[in-house]
C-alpha cells in the first residue's frame, strides 16, 4: 500500500484537490472554510506521504483529514460560544459519510472553476483562488510564482473568498443561460495564468512553479468536463501551440528570439500535433471564437517547417476574421504585419496609419516596434532606427527592451544606402 512520494504524487495531490474540495463542500456547505481545510490536508499529505508512503486510498485520506479539520473547527467555535449542544446539532445536520458522493467529481472541478472565476472577483484574486482551490497549489507556491510574499497572496485569496460569499453564488453549475458569459470569464482567467507563465525561462526563474503548465493542466480539466465546447478546445489548442515554441523563443542570455528567427527544430512536436488535432476538431464544430482563430494562426505557423514556408495569405485571412470579431488593437497590429507579408510593407504601413488614431495604442511600444519592422522591410533604415528606439524607451519588458536596443545597434552599424 505504501509507495514513495515523488513528482507523480505531487501531480496526484493537485489533481485530487478539486475532487476532495467538492466533497467537503457538499458535506459542510461552507466554501471558504472547506477550502482552508483542504489546503491544510494537502499540506499534511505533502509532509506525511513522503515519510510514510502514499496511502492506498489517497482521495479518502485527504477527505478524512479535511473533514476532521472542519469538525474540529465547528467544535471549537461552538465551545467558544459556550453552546455545547450545538456541536451535536450541527454534526447531526451534516449528511453521514456514507451518503457523500466521493466518486470521481468531474463536475466539481467545473463548478469550482466557475466559482473561482466569478465576475465579482478582481483578476488577481480570481487567479490566486483558482490556482489554490482548483489547482491544488499551496499559497507559498502561488506567492513564489508571482514573486510576492506569502502573506500578500494569502490576503488575495481571502479577499476572493469574501467576494464569493458576498455574491451569494451557490455551489452548483451556472444555468445554461449564465454559462456562456461565465465561461468566457473562466477562459480569460486561465489565459491570464498562461500568459503570466510565458516569461523568459532561464536564470533564477527555473525553480519557480511553471504557471503556463498549470494553466494548460487546468484548461485540460475544463476541456474534459466540457468536451463538446469549441471555445474551450480552441483555448487549449492555443496554449499548446504557443507553449510548443517555449524552448526556441529565448536565447542563452535570456534574449528574446522572434518567431521568424527561431530554431524550429526546438519546437515541441507532440504539443504541436495535439494542438492541431484540437483546433481542427474545434473548427469543425461550427461557431468560431477569438481563441479558435488565434489557435488556427498558431497552427499555420507550426505547420511551416521553415519560416519561408509560412502560408501568409492564410494567416492574413484569419487575422481579417479575428480583427472583425475582437476589435482588439493588438490584433490590428498583427493584421498589419500579415498584410505586409502578403502585399508588401507599404500596405502594412498604411494600415498602421489608421491605428495612430486609436487611443488604446497611444504611446504603446508595440505600435513603434511593428512600424520599425515594416520600415526596415521597406528599406527606410533611418525611420526604422527612430521607431525601434522609441519602442525600446516605451516597453516595460526587459527582454523586449534588450531585443529592441539590439535592433537599433544592428541597423546603426549598417551603411545607409
Amino acid at each position: 500500500m505504501c509507495e514513495p512520494l515523488h513528482s507523480v504524487s505531487e501531480h496526484l495531490l493537485r489533481d485530487l484537490a478539486p475532487q476532495v474540495l467538492g466533497a467537503v463542500i457538499r458535506r459542510f456547505h461552507d466554501f471558504a472554510d472547506a477550502e482552508d481545510a483542504v489546503q491544510e490536508a494537502l499540506i499534511a499529505a505533502s509532509v506525511q506521504w513522503p515519510r510514510e508512503g502514499v496511502p492506498g486510498n489517497p482521495r479518502g485520506w485527504l477527505y478524512q483529514v479535511a473533514c476532521r479539520r472542519m469538525t474540529d473547527q465547528i467544535r471549537s467555535e461552538s465551545a467558544r460560544r459556550r453552546r455545547e449542544t450545538t456541536v451535536a446539532e450541527e454534526l447531526e445536520r451534516l449528511a453521514p459519510v456514507s451518503e457523500i458522493d466521493t466518486g470521481l467529481g468531474q463536475d466539481d472541478t467545473l463548478i469550482l472553476l466557475f466559482m473561482c472565476c466569478h465576475p465579482a472577483l478582481s483578476q488577481p484574486s480570481a487567479i490566486a483562488l483558482t490556482l489554490r482551490a482548483v489547482g491544488g497549489l499551496t499559497t507559498a507556491e502561488i506567492a513564489n510564482a508571482f514573486l510576492v510574499p506569502e502573506a500578500t497572496m494569502a490576503q488575495r485569496i481571502s479577499r476572493a473568498k469574501q467576494s464569493i460569499k458576498a455574491s451569494g453564488a451557490p455551489f452548483r453549475l451556472p444555468t445554461d443561460q449564465e454559462q456562456t458569459q461565465r465561461l468566457s470569464a473562466v477562459l480569460h482567467v486561465l489565459y491570464l495564468i498562461f500568459n503570466e507563465g510565458y516569461v523568459a525561462s532561464v536564470g533564477p526563474q527555473v525553480q519557480r512553479l511553471e504557471l503556463s503548465g498549470e494553466a494548460i493542466r487546468l484548461t485540460r480539466a475544463l476541456h474534459s468536463g466540457l468536451p463538446g465546447n469549441a471555445e474551450v478546445g480552441g483555448l487549449l489548442a492555443l496554449m499548446l501551440l504557443t507553449n510548443a515554441r517555449r524552448k526556441a523563443r529565448t536565447g542563452p542570455n535570456e534574449e528574446m528570439i522572434p518567431l521568424d528567427k527561431q530554431d524550429r527544430s526546438l519546437w515541441d512536436q507532440s504539443e504541436i500535433s495535439e494542438g492541431i488535432a484540437l483546433i481542427t476538431a474545434a473548427l469543425s464544430k461550427g461557431s468560431i471564437s477569438a481563441y479558435q482563430l488565434q489557435a488556427a494562426i498558431a497552427a499555420v505557423h507550426a505547420e511551416a517547417a521553415r519560416v519561408e514556408d509560412t502560408d501568409w495569405p492564410q494567416i492574413l485571412t484569419l487575422y481579417e476574421l479575428l480583427k472583425r470579431m475582437s476589435g482588439n488593437p493588438m490584433v490590428a497590429l498583427n493584421h498589419a504585419v500579415a498584410a505586409a507579408m502578403v502585399k508588401g510593407p507599404v500596405a502594412g504601413l498604411k494600415l498602421l496609419q489608421e491605428l495612430d488614431q486609436d487611443e488604446r495604442l497611444a504611446g504603446h511600444h508595440r505600435l513603434d516596434a511593428v512600424r520599425a519592422y515594416l520600415m526596415e522591410m521597406s528599406g527606410d533604415l533611418t525611420g526604422a532606427i527612430v521607431h525601434y528606439r522609441l519602442a525600446a524607451e516605451r516597453t516595460t519588458s526587459l527582454p523586449e527592451q534588450n531585443y529592441l536596443l539590439t535592433q537599433v545597434a544592428r541597423l546603426s552599424e549598417r551603411p545607409i544606402p
Partner: protein, 129 residues
C-alpha cells in the same frame, strides 16, 4: 504591475529628524507601518527596506585591476535614496495613490512631511513574440 516607490532625501533633510520629539518619531513610524499593513491586506505589498544613512554612502568605480575607487563624503544638497517599497498594483494611478500615502506621514506636531517619493515601474520578463 510592480512599482518601486523610492523615498529620497538629502543629508540636510535627514538631519532635520534630529529635532523631532520622541512622540513625533514614534507617530511617523507607526504611520508607515500601518500603511504597509494596509497594503498586505489589500494584496499589494511586495517588499520594503530602509537604507543606512546617506552619511555612510559611497560611490564606487572600478579602477586599475578592478580595485574599487570610492567616492564620498558628498555635499549636503545631494539627493539619496533613503528606502523603498515595492507594490504590485493594477495601474500607475494606484501606485501614485500609495506613494502619496507614504509621503503624507506625520512630522513634528503632526504636520504632514510630504516627502518626495519617486515612482518607477519595475520591468517584467514577460514578452510577446
Amino acid at each position: 504591475m510592480k512599482y518601486i516607490l523610492l523615498m529620497t532625501g538629502t543629508k540636510a533633510g535627514v538631519d532635520t529628524y534630529k529635532a523631532w520629539s520622541e512622540k513625533d518619531v514614534q507617530n511617523h513610524f507607526a504611520y508607515l507601518t500601518s500603511v504597509r499593513n494596509d497594503l498586505t491586506k489589500s494584496g499589494e505589498f511586495v517588499a520594503t527596506e530602509g537604507l543606512a544613512m546617506p552619511h555612510q554612502a559611497k560611490v564606487v568605480r572600478a579602477g586599475k585591476d578592478n580595485t574599487p575607487i570610492t567616492d564620498g563624503v558628498f555635499p549636503e544638497a545631494k539627493e539619496f535614496v533613503l528606502g523603498y517599497w515595492i507594490v504590485d498594483v493594477d495601474s500607475a494611478e494606484r501606485a501614485y495613490e500609495i506613494a502619496a500615502r507614504f509621503s503624507s506621514g506625520p512630522g513634528p506636531g503632526g504636520t504632514q512631511v510630504n516627502l518626495p517619493i519617486e515612482v518607477r515601474q519595475i520591468m517584467t520578463r514577460a514578452t510577446a513574440e
